[in-house]
Protein backbone atom coordinates (compact mmCIF):
# COMPACT_ATOMS: atom_id res chain seq x y z
CA UNK A 1 0.00 0.00 0.00
CA UNK A 2 1.24 3.48 -0.83
CA UNK A 3 1.63 5.53 2.28
CA UNK A 4 0.39 9.12 2.21
CA UNK A 5 2.79 11.64 3.72
CA UNK A 6 0.90 12.48 6.88
CA UNK A 7 -0.48 9.77 9.15
CA UNK A 8 -3.97 10.43 10.54
CA UNK A 9 -2.82 9.61 14.02
CA UNK A 10 0.53 8.70 15.44
CA UNK A 11 2.14 7.99 18.77
CA UNK A 12 5.84 8.55 19.28
CA UNK A 13 7.90 6.83 21.93
CA UNK A 14 5.00 6.51 24.36
CA UNK A 15 5.70 5.56 27.96
CA UNK A 16 2.82 4.90 30.33
CA UNK A 17 3.34 3.80 33.90
CA UNK A 18 1.04 2.76 36.71
CA UNK A 19 2.36 2.04 40.20
CA UNK A 20 5.95 2.12 38.99
CA UNK A 21 5.32 -0.51 36.32
CA UNK A 22 5.60 0.35 32.65
CA UNK A 23 2.40 -0.71 30.92
CA UNK A 24 3.63 0.76 27.65
CA UNK A 25 7.26 1.51 26.90
CA UNK A 26 8.73 3.10 23.80
CA UNK A 27 5.65 2.50 21.68
CA UNK A 28 5.54 4.02 18.19
CA UNK A 29 2.49 3.56 16.05
CA UNK A 30 1.13 5.25 12.94
CA UNK A 31 -2.25 4.99 11.29
CA UNK A 32 -2.68 6.03 7.66
CA UNK A 33 -5.93 6.88 5.91
CA UNK A 34 -7.51 3.82 4.37
CA UNK A 35 -5.48 1.39 6.42
CA UNK A 36 -6.84 -1.31 8.71
CA UNK A 37 -4.48 -1.77 11.61
CA UNK A 38 -5.09 -4.54 14.10
CA UNK A 39 -3.58 -4.54 17.54
CA UNK A 40 -3.07 -7.98 19.03
CA UNK A 41 -1.37 -9.18 22.16
CA UNK A 42 -1.94 -11.23 25.29
CA UNK A 43 -4.29 -10.11 28.05
CA UNK A 44 -2.80 -7.26 30.04
CA UNK A 45 -0.41 -6.32 27.23
CA UNK A 46 -1.59 -2.70 27.26
CA UNK A 47 -3.73 -2.78 24.11
CA UNK A 48 -6.68 -0.91 25.57
CA UNK A 49 -4.34 1.49 27.36
CA UNK A 50 -2.64 2.33 24.06
CA UNK A 51 -6.00 2.90 22.38
CA UNK A 52 -7.14 5.13 25.22
CA UNK A 53 -3.95 7.17 24.94
CA UNK A 54 -4.43 7.53 21.18
CA UNK A 55 -8.00 8.70 21.80
CA UNK A 56 -6.87 11.28 24.33
CA UNK A 57 -8.68 9.54 27.21
CA UNK A 58 -5.36 9.02 29.01
CA UNK A 59 -2.22 11.08 28.79
CA UNK A 60 1.11 9.30 28.40
CA UNK A 61 3.90 9.84 30.94
CA UNK A 62 6.35 10.38 28.09
CA UNK A 63 6.11 10.65 24.34
CA UNK A 64 3.55 12.46 22.27
CA UNK A 65 0.46 11.90 20.19
CA UNK A 66 -0.04 13.65 16.87
CA UNK A 67 -3.45 13.96 15.25
CA UNK A 68 -4.09 15.34 11.80
CA UNK A 69 -6.18 18.49 11.77
CA UNK A 70 -9.97 18.17 12.21
CA UNK A 71 -9.74 14.45 12.71
CA UNK A 72 -13.17 12.92 13.35
CA UNK A 73 -12.97 9.69 15.30
CA UNK A 74 -15.69 7.08 15.67
CA UNK A 75 -15.12 4.98 18.75
CA UNK A 76 -16.61 1.67 19.79
CA UNK A 77 -15.66 0.84 23.38
CA UNK A 78 -15.58 -2.69 24.76
CA UNK A 79 -18.76 -2.01 26.63
CA UNK A 80 -21.01 0.87 27.54
CA UNK A 81 -21.41 2.20 31.04
CA UNK A 82 -25.13 2.56 30.25
CA UNK A 83 -27.50 0.69 32.55
CA UNK A 84 -31.26 0.21 32.68
CA UNK A 85 -31.94 3.25 34.84
CA UNK A 86 -32.30 5.51 31.80
CA UNK A 87 -35.03 4.67 29.30
CA UNK A 88 -33.21 5.17 26.02
CA UNK A 89 -34.14 4.01 22.54
CA UNK A 90 -31.56 3.11 19.93
CA UNK A 91 -32.49 6.22 17.91
CA UNK A 92 -31.92 8.48 20.91
CA UNK A 93 -28.65 6.71 21.72
CA UNK A 94 -27.40 7.56 18.24
CA UNK A 95 -28.83 11.09 18.42
CA UNK A 96 -26.51 11.80 21.37
CA UNK A 97 -23.80 12.35 18.75
CA UNK A 98 -25.81 15.33 17.47
CA UNK A 99 -26.56 13.53 14.19
CA UNK A 100 -29.72 14.02 12.15
CA UNK A 101 -32.44 11.31 12.00
CA UNK A 102 -31.65 10.61 8.32
CA UNK A 103 -27.99 9.91 9.13
CA UNK A 104 -29.03 7.72 12.04
CA UNK A 105 -31.38 5.63 9.90
CA UNK A 106 -28.65 5.26 7.30
CA UNK A 107 -26.08 4.11 9.87
CA UNK A 108 -28.47 1.53 11.35
CA UNK A 109 -29.30 0.22 7.89
CA UNK A 110 -25.59 0.00 7.08
CA UNK A 111 -24.89 -2.27 10.05
CA UNK A 112 -27.88 -4.46 9.06
CA UNK A 113 -30.25 -3.56 11.88
CA UNK A 114 -32.53 -1.08 10.04
CA UNK A 115 -35.69 -1.70 12.08
CA UNK A 116 -34.22 -1.45 15.53
CA UNK A 117 -34.47 2.32 16.09
CA UNK A 118 -37.41 2.34 18.47
CA UNK A 119 -36.24 -0.47 20.71
CA UNK A 120 -34.88 0.24 24.15
CA UNK A 121 -31.12 -0.10 24.53
CA UNK A 122 -31.60 -2.27 27.60
CA UNK A 123 -33.61 -4.82 25.59
CA UNK A 124 -31.02 -5.46 22.87
CA UNK A 125 -29.24 -8.78 22.42
CA UNK A 126 -25.44 -8.92 22.55
CA UNK A 127 -25.09 -8.98 18.78
CA UNK A 128 -27.58 -6.15 18.28
CA UNK A 129 -25.80 -4.02 20.86
CA UNK A 130 -22.44 -4.52 19.09
CA UNK A 131 -24.03 -3.41 15.81
CA UNK A 132 -25.70 -0.39 17.40
CA UNK A 133 -22.38 0.63 18.92
CA UNK A 134 -20.75 0.25 15.51
CA UNK A 135 -23.55 2.38 14.04
CA UNK A 136 -22.76 5.08 16.60
CA UNK A 137 -19.10 4.92 15.64
CA UNK A 138 -19.86 5.44 11.92
CA UNK A 139 -22.78 7.86 12.15
CA UNK A 140 -20.56 10.94 12.10
CA UNK A 141 -18.68 9.69 9.01
CA UNK A 142 -15.35 9.49 10.81
CA UNK A 143 -11.85 9.63 9.34
CA UNK A 144 -10.77 7.00 11.81
CA UNK A 145 -12.73 4.13 13.34
CA UNK A 146 -11.39 2.85 16.64
CA UNK A 147 -12.86 -0.49 17.67
CA UNK A 148 -12.02 -2.19 20.94
CA UNK A 149 -12.82 -5.88 20.47
CA UNK A 150 -15.72 -5.21 18.11
CA UNK A 151 -17.03 -8.79 17.94
CA UNK A 152 -17.30 -9.48 21.66
CA UNK A 153 -20.34 -11.53 22.53
CA UNK A 154 -21.15 -12.29 18.89
CA UNK A 155 -21.36 -15.90 17.69
CA UNK A 156 -18.71 -17.18 15.34
CA UNK A 157 -20.67 -16.76 12.08
CA UNK A 158 -21.65 -13.27 13.17
CA UNK A 159 -18.01 -12.50 13.91
CA UNK A 160 -16.75 -13.07 10.38
CA UNK A 161 -19.74 -11.11 9.02
CA UNK A 162 -18.90 -8.19 11.30
CA UNK A 163 -15.25 -8.20 10.25
CA UNK A 164 -16.31 -8.23 6.61
CA UNK A 165 -18.64 -5.31 7.33
CA UNK A 166 -15.77 -3.39 8.94
CA UNK A 167 -13.69 -4.01 5.82
CA UNK A 168 -16.50 -2.66 3.62
CA UNK A 169 -17.01 0.37 5.84
CA UNK A 170 -13.35 1.23 5.49
CA UNK A 171 -13.69 1.56 1.71
CA UNK A 172 -17.09 3.28 1.83
CA UNK A 173 -16.04 5.91 4.34
CA UNK A 174 -12.46 6.04 3.08
CA UNK A 175 -11.40 5.95 6.69
CA UNK A 176 -8.72 4.21 8.66
CA UNK A 177 -9.57 1.46 11.13
CA UNK A 178 -7.71 0.76 14.33
CA UNK A 179 -8.97 -2.28 16.15
CA UNK A 180 -8.07 -4.50 19.02
CA UNK A 181 -8.80 -8.12 18.49
CA UNK A 182 -8.38 -11.51 20.03
CA UNK A 183 -9.78 -13.33 17.05
CA UNK A 184 -6.61 -13.55 15.10
CA UNK A 185 -7.62 -15.93 12.35
CA UNK A 186 -10.76 -13.95 11.48
CA UNK A 187 -8.96 -10.62 11.52
CA UNK A 188 -6.07 -11.67 9.30
CA UNK A 189 -8.15 -11.61 6.12
CA UNK A 190 -9.44 -8.08 6.75
CA UNK A 191 -6.35 -6.34 7.98
CA UNK A 192 -3.45 -4.52 6.30
CA UNK A 193 -1.12 -4.22 9.24
CA UNK A 194 -0.86 -6.27 12.40
CA UNK A 195 0.85 -4.75 15.41
CA UNK A 196 1.79 -7.21 18.06
CA UNK A 197 1.95 -5.58 21.47
CA UNK A 198 3.22 -6.83 24.78
CA UNK A 199 4.07 -3.63 26.72
CA UNK A 200 6.35 -2.78 23.80
CA UNK A 201 5.82 -3.47 20.12
CA UNK A 202 7.14 -6.97 19.46
CA UNK A 203 6.67 -6.94 15.73
CA UNK A 204 4.50 -5.40 13.07
CA UNK A 205 3.76 -5.82 9.41
CA UNK A 206 1.56 -7.60 6.93
CA UNK A 207 -0.48 -10.47 8.34
CA UNK A 208 1.31 -12.98 6.09
CA UNK A 209 4.79 -11.92 7.01
CA UNK A 210 4.04 -11.44 10.66
CA UNK A 211 2.65 -14.91 11.21
CA UNK A 212 6.12 -16.33 10.63
CA UNK A 213 7.96 -13.68 12.64
CA UNK A 214 9.90 -15.25 15.54
CA UNK A 215 8.67 -12.60 18.00
CA UNK A 216 5.10 -13.34 17.00
CA UNK A 217 5.58 -17.08 17.35
CA UNK A 218 7.09 -16.64 20.76
CA UNK A 219 4.09 -14.64 21.93
CA UNK A 220 1.38 -16.70 20.30
CA UNK A 221 2.82 -20.15 19.92
CA UNK A 222 3.24 -22.32 16.86
CA UNK A 223 1.18 -21.90 13.74
CA UNK A 224 -0.97 -24.87 12.89
CA UNK A 225 -1.17 -26.00 9.29
CA UNK A 226 -4.43 -24.12 8.78
CA UNK A 227 -2.74 -20.86 9.56
CA UNK A 228 -4.44 -20.47 12.92
CA UNK A 229 -2.32 -19.15 15.73
CA UNK A 230 -2.63 -21.19 18.89
CA UNK A 231 -3.40 -18.88 21.69
CA UNK A 232 -1.73 -18.63 25.04
CA UNK A 233 -5.02 -17.66 26.64
CA UNK A 234 -8.35 -19.29 25.99
CA UNK A 235 -11.37 -17.72 24.49
CA UNK A 236 -14.64 -19.61 24.16
CA UNK A 237 -14.58 -19.93 20.43
CA UNK A 238 -10.91 -20.32 19.70
CA UNK A 239 -11.19 -23.84 18.28
CA UNK A 240 -10.36 -24.62 14.70
CA UNK A 241 -13.92 -24.48 13.51
CA UNK A 242 -15.15 -24.11 9.96
CA UNK A 243 -14.44 -20.41 10.09
CA UNK A 244 -10.66 -20.70 9.82
CA UNK A 245 -9.02 -18.99 6.92
CA UNK A 246 -5.77 -19.46 5.11
CA UNK A 247 -3.51 -16.48 5.43
CA UNK A 248 -2.75 -16.29 1.71
CA UNK A 249 -6.10 -15.12 0.40
CA UNK A 250 -5.11 -11.98 -1.43
Amino acid sequence: MELPLQPLLSANNVLFQRNGKAILDGVDIQIQRGEILTLIGPNGAGKTTLVRILLGLLSPDKGNIKRSKNLTIGYMPQKLSLDGSMPLTVDRFLALTGSKPAAIGEALARVDVPAIGRQLMSKLSGGELQRVMLARAIVRKPDLLVLDEPVQGVDITGQSKLYRLIGELRSELNCAVLMISHDLHLVMAQTDTVVCLNHHICCQGHPESISTDPAFLELFGQQTDTGVAVYTHHHDHQHDSGETRHPHQH
Binding site: G56, S81, P87, L96, G98
Partner: protein
Protein backbone atom coordinates in the same frame (compact mmCIF):
# COMPACT_ATOMS: atom_id res chain seq x y z
CA UNK B 1 -56.31 28.90 52.40
CA UNK B 2 -53.96 31.08 54.46
CA UNK B 3 -51.31 33.09 52.65
CA UNK B 4 -48.36 31.30 54.27
CA UNK B 5 -49.65 28.01 52.87
CA UNK B 6 -49.84 29.43 49.36
CA UNK B 7 -46.27 30.70 49.64
CA UNK B 8 -45.18 27.31 50.98
CA UNK B 9 -46.96 25.54 48.13
CA UNK B 10 -45.42 27.77 45.45
CA UNK B 11 -41.92 27.41 46.95
CA UNK B 12 -42.30 23.65 47.10
CA UNK B 13 -43.51 23.52 43.52
CA UNK B 14 -40.55 25.62 42.35
CA UNK B 15 -38.17 23.18 44.05
CA UNK B 16 -39.96 20.10 42.71
CA UNK B 17 -39.90 21.53 39.19
CA UNK B 18 -36.11 21.56 39.06
CA UNK B 19 -35.64 18.54 41.33
CA UNK B 20 -37.33 16.37 38.66
CA UNK B 21 -34.68 16.50 35.95
CA UNK B 22 -31.80 16.80 38.42
CA UNK B 23 -33.08 13.80 40.35
CA UNK B 24 -33.06 11.84 37.10
CA UNK B 25 -29.35 12.51 36.72
CA UNK B 26 -28.80 11.39 40.30
CA UNK B 27 -30.61 8.13 39.55
CA UNK B 28 -28.91 7.61 36.17
CA UNK B 29 -25.44 8.40 37.46
CA UNK B 30 -25.88 6.56 40.76
CA UNK B 31 -25.07 9.61 42.81
CA UNK B 32 -27.68 9.21 45.54
CA UNK B 33 -25.08 9.76 48.22
CA UNK B 34 -23.98 13.04 46.65
CA UNK B 35 -27.12 14.80 47.84
CA UNK B 36 -26.57 13.62 51.41
CA UNK B 37 -22.98 14.78 51.39
CA UNK B 38 -23.90 18.23 50.17
CA UNK B 39 -26.70 18.45 52.70
CA UNK B 40 -24.31 17.53 55.51
CA UNK B 41 -21.87 20.16 54.42
CA UNK B 42 -24.65 22.72 54.75
CA UNK B 43 -24.18 22.87 58.51
CA UNK B 44 -20.58 23.89 57.87
CA UNK B 45 -21.94 26.63 55.62
CA UNK B 46 -24.29 27.77 58.35
CA UNK B 47 -21.49 27.86 60.92
CA UNK B 48 -19.20 29.83 58.63
CA UNK B 49 -22.07 32.12 57.79
CA UNK B 50 -22.44 32.96 61.48
CA UNK B 51 -18.71 33.21 62.02
CA UNK B 52 -18.20 35.66 59.16
CA UNK B 53 -21.66 37.17 59.57
CA UNK B 54 -22.79 36.74 55.97
CA UNK B 55 -26.28 35.89 54.81
CA UNK B 56 -26.88 32.25 55.78
CA UNK B 57 -28.50 31.27 52.47
CA UNK B 58 -25.49 32.55 50.59
CA UNK B 59 -23.13 30.87 53.05
CA UNK B 60 -24.89 27.52 52.59
CA UNK B 61 -24.89 27.85 48.81
CA UNK B 62 -21.17 28.73 48.80
CA UNK B 63 -20.43 25.81 51.13
CA UNK B 64 -22.22 23.38 48.82
CA UNK B 65 -20.56 24.79 45.70
CA UNK B 66 -17.10 24.55 47.26
CA UNK B 67 -17.73 20.99 48.35
CA UNK B 68 -18.95 20.05 44.87
CA UNK B 69 -15.79 21.50 43.31
CA UNK B 70 -13.65 19.67 45.85
CA UNK B 71 -15.37 16.44 44.96
CA UNK B 72 -14.88 16.97 41.22
CA UNK B 73 -11.17 17.59 41.76
CA UNK B 74 -10.73 14.57 44.01
CA UNK B 75 -12.60 12.42 41.50
CA UNK B 76 -10.15 13.48 38.78
CA UNK B 77 -7.33 11.99 40.85
CA UNK B 78 -9.10 8.63 40.98
CA UNK B 79 -7.36 7.64 44.18
CA UNK B 80 -10.52 6.40 45.84
CA UNK B 81 -13.94 5.31 44.70
CA UNK B 82 -16.49 8.11 44.61
CA UNK B 83 -18.67 6.65 47.35
CA UNK B 84 -15.68 6.48 49.70
CA UNK B 85 -14.76 10.08 48.88
CA UNK B 86 -18.33 11.15 49.56
CA UNK B 87 -18.30 9.32 52.88
CA UNK B 88 -15.13 11.09 53.94
CA UNK B 89 -16.26 14.54 52.82
CA UNK B 90 -19.77 14.13 54.14
CA UNK B 91 -18.90 13.32 57.71
CA UNK B 92 -15.83 15.47 58.08
CA UNK B 93 -17.69 18.57 56.90
CA UNK B 94 -20.59 17.75 59.21
CA UNK B 95 -18.16 17.31 62.12
CA UNK B 96 -16.32 20.52 61.31
CA UNK B 97 -19.62 22.36 61.13
CA UNK B 98 -20.64 21.06 64.56
CA UNK B 99 -17.27 21.94 66.11
CA UNK B 100 -17.32 25.47 64.72
CA UNK B 101 -20.93 25.92 65.82
CA UNK B 102 -20.02 24.86 69.39
CA UNK B 103 -17.31 27.52 69.64
CA UNK B 104 -19.84 30.24 68.98
CA UNK B 105 -21.76 30.88 72.17
CA UNK B 106 -24.30 33.04 70.37
CA UNK B 107 -25.22 30.45 67.72
CA UNK B 108 -28.40 28.59 68.37
CA UNK B 109 -29.08 26.37 65.44
CA UNK B 110 -32.63 25.16 65.29
CA UNK B 111 -31.82 21.50 64.79
CA UNK B 112 -35.37 20.48 63.91
CA UNK B 113 -35.65 23.09 61.20
CA UNK B 114 -32.23 22.06 59.96
CA UNK B 115 -33.10 18.38 59.77
CA UNK B 116 -36.66 18.59 58.54
CA UNK B 117 -36.89 21.98 56.88
CA UNK B 118 -39.31 24.72 57.65
CA UNK B 119 -41.49 24.97 54.61
CA UNK B 120 -44.37 26.65 56.40
CA UNK B 121 -42.10 29.47 57.55
CA UNK B 122 -40.74 30.51 54.14
CA UNK B 123 -41.06 34.18 53.24
CA UNK B 124 -41.88 35.88 49.95
CA UNK B 125 -38.16 36.63 49.66
CA UNK B 126 -37.36 32.91 50.02
CA UNK B 127 -39.97 32.10 47.42
CA UNK B 128 -38.48 34.49 44.88
CA UNK B 129 -34.94 33.20 45.53
CA UNK B 130 -36.06 29.61 45.03
CA UNK B 131 -38.07 30.48 41.92
CA UNK B 132 -35.21 32.39 40.31
CA UNK B 133 -32.63 29.67 41.05
CA UNK B 134 -35.02 27.02 39.84
CA UNK B 135 -35.62 28.77 36.53
CA UNK B 136 -31.93 29.50 35.98
CA UNK B 137 -30.95 25.91 36.70
CA UNK B 138 -33.68 24.59 34.41
CA UNK B 139 -32.45 26.86 31.62
CA UNK B 140 -28.88 25.65 32.13
CA UNK B 141 -30.04 22.02 32.09
CA UNK B 142 -31.99 22.60 28.88
CA UNK B 143 -28.94 24.15 27.22
CA UNK B 144 -26.62 21.33 28.26
CA UNK B 145 -29.22 18.57 27.89
CA UNK B 146 -27.78 16.55 25.00
CA UNK B 147 -24.25 16.79 26.35
CA UNK B 148 -25.38 15.81 29.82
CA UNK B 149 -27.18 12.76 28.45
CA UNK B 150 -24.20 11.80 26.30
CA UNK B 151 -21.93 12.03 29.33
CA UNK B 152 -24.29 9.98 31.45
CA UNK B 153 -24.54 7.22 28.87
CA UNK B 154 -20.78 6.93 28.37
CA UNK B 155 -18.13 9.48 29.29
CA UNK B 156 -15.43 8.00 27.04
CA UNK B 157 -17.69 8.10 23.98
CA UNK B 158 -18.73 11.65 24.83
CA UNK B 159 -15.08 12.69 25.10
CA UNK B 160 -14.13 11.10 21.77
CA UNK B 161 -17.13 12.79 20.14
CA UNK B 162 -15.76 16.15 21.17
CA UNK B 163 -17.64 16.99 24.36
CA UNK B 164 -15.65 18.69 27.09
CA UNK B 165 -16.40 16.06 29.71
CA UNK B 166 -14.75 17.78 32.65
CA UNK B 167 -16.61 21.03 32.07
CA UNK B 168 -20.02 19.44 31.58
CA UNK B 169 -19.59 17.18 34.61
CA UNK B 170 -18.50 20.12 36.76
CA UNK B 171 -21.51 22.14 35.61
CA UNK B 172 -23.84 19.34 36.59
CA UNK B 173 -22.26 19.07 40.04
CA UNK B 174 -22.50 22.81 40.61
CA UNK B 175 -26.13 22.94 39.46
CA UNK B 176 -26.94 20.14 41.86
CA UNK B 177 -25.12 21.86 44.69
CA UNK B 178 -27.09 25.02 44.07
CA UNK B 179 -30.45 23.27 44.00
CA UNK B 180 -29.67 21.23 47.10
CA UNK B 181 -28.61 24.36 48.96
CA UNK B 182 -31.88 26.13 48.24
CA UNK B 183 -34.09 23.07 48.59
CA UNK B 184 -32.75 22.31 52.03
CA UNK B 185 -34.94 25.01 53.49
CA UNK B 186 -37.99 23.23 52.12
CA UNK B 187 -37.55 19.63 53.26
CA UNK B 188 -34.44 19.82 55.41
CA UNK B 189 -31.12 18.02 55.37
CA UNK B 190 -32.44 14.55 56.13
CA UNK B 191 -35.05 14.47 53.42
CA UNK B 192 -33.49 16.47 50.61
CA UNK B 193 -32.19 13.42 48.76
CA UNK B 194 -35.63 11.84 48.97
CA UNK B 195 -37.20 14.73 47.08
CA UNK B 196 -34.61 14.33 44.34
CA UNK B 197 -34.56 10.56 44.05
CA UNK B 198 -38.05 9.25 44.78
CA UNK B 199 -39.96 11.15 42.06
CA UNK B 200 -37.24 10.28 39.53
CA UNK B 201 -37.31 6.59 40.50
CA UNK B 202 -41.11 6.59 40.27
CA UNK B 203 -40.95 8.27 36.91
CA UNK B 204 -38.59 5.58 35.60
CA UNK B 205 -41.48 3.16 35.90
CA UNK B 206 -43.73 5.33 33.77
CA UNK B 207 -41.59 6.70 30.96
CA UNK B 208 -40.05 5.69 27.67
CA UNK B 209 -37.58 8.50 27.02
CA UNK B 210 -35.18 10.50 29.21
CA UNK B 211 -37.19 13.68 28.60
CA UNK B 212 -40.44 12.01 29.61
CA UNK B 213 -38.76 10.73 32.73
CA UNK B 214 -37.58 14.25 33.65
CA UNK B 215 -40.98 15.87 33.07
CA UNK B 216 -42.94 13.16 34.87
CA UNK B 217 -40.48 13.37 37.79
CA UNK B 218 -41.20 17.10 38.05
CA UNK B 219 -44.96 16.50 37.99
CA UNK B 220 -44.73 13.75 40.61
CA UNK B 221 -42.58 15.99 42.81
CA UNK B 222 -45.14 18.79 42.55
CA UNK B 223 -47.96 16.38 43.36
CA UNK B 224 -46.05 15.20 46.44
CA UNK B 225 -45.56 18.79 47.56
CA UNK B 226 -49.29 19.49 47.21
CA UNK B 227 -50.27 16.28 49.01
CA UNK B 228 -47.74 16.87 51.80
CA UNK B 229 -48.80 20.46 52.40
CA UNK B 230 -52.45 19.44 52.17
CA UNK B 231 -51.94 16.80 54.83
CA UNK B 232 -50.03 19.27 56.96
CA UNK B 233 -52.94 21.73 56.69
CA UNK B 234 -55.71 19.21 57.32
CA UNK B 235 -54.11 16.94 59.91
CA UNK B 236 -51.31 19.10 61.23
CA UNK B 237 -48.60 16.63 60.16
CA UNK B 238 -45.05 18.01 59.72
CA UNK B 239 -44.82 19.37 56.15
CA UNK B 240 -41.35 18.14 55.04
CA UNK B 241 -41.78 14.51 56.12
CA UNK B 242 -45.35 14.46 54.78
CA UNK B 243 -44.05 15.50 51.35
CA UNK B 244 -41.50 12.71 51.33
CA UNK B 245 -44.11 10.20 52.50
CA UNK B 246 -46.47 11.32 49.74
CA UNK B 247 -43.76 10.75 47.14
CA UNK B 248 -43.00 7.32 48.63
CA UNK B 249 -46.67 6.39 48.33
CA UNK B 250 -46.64 7.48 44.68
CA UNK B 251 -43.58 5.29 44.16
CA UNK B 252 -45.38 2.27 45.63
CA UNK B 253 -48.36 2.94 43.38
CA UNK B 254 -46.09 3.00 40.31
CA UNK B 255 -44.58 -0.43 41.00
CA UNK B 256 -47.35 -2.55 39.38
CA UNK B 257 -46.93 -0.45 36.22
CA UNK B 258 -43.20 -1.20 36.17
CA UNK B 259 -43.84 -4.94 36.19
CA UNK B 260 -46.09 -4.72 33.16
CA UNK B 261 -43.40 -3.12 30.99
Amino acid sequence: MPEFLIIALLTGIAVALVAGPLGCFIVWRRMAYFGDTLAHSALLGVSFGWLLSINLNIAVACGCLILAMLLVLLQQKRLLATDTLLGILSHSTLALGLVIASTQANIRIDITAYLFGDLLAVSIADLSTVAIVSILVLAALAMLWRKLLALTVDEDLAHVEGINVFWVRTSLMLLMALVIAIAMKVVGVLLITALLIIPAATSRNLSKTPEQMAVIASLLGMTSIALGIGSSYLWDSPAGPSIVLASAVLFLLSLPLAKKR
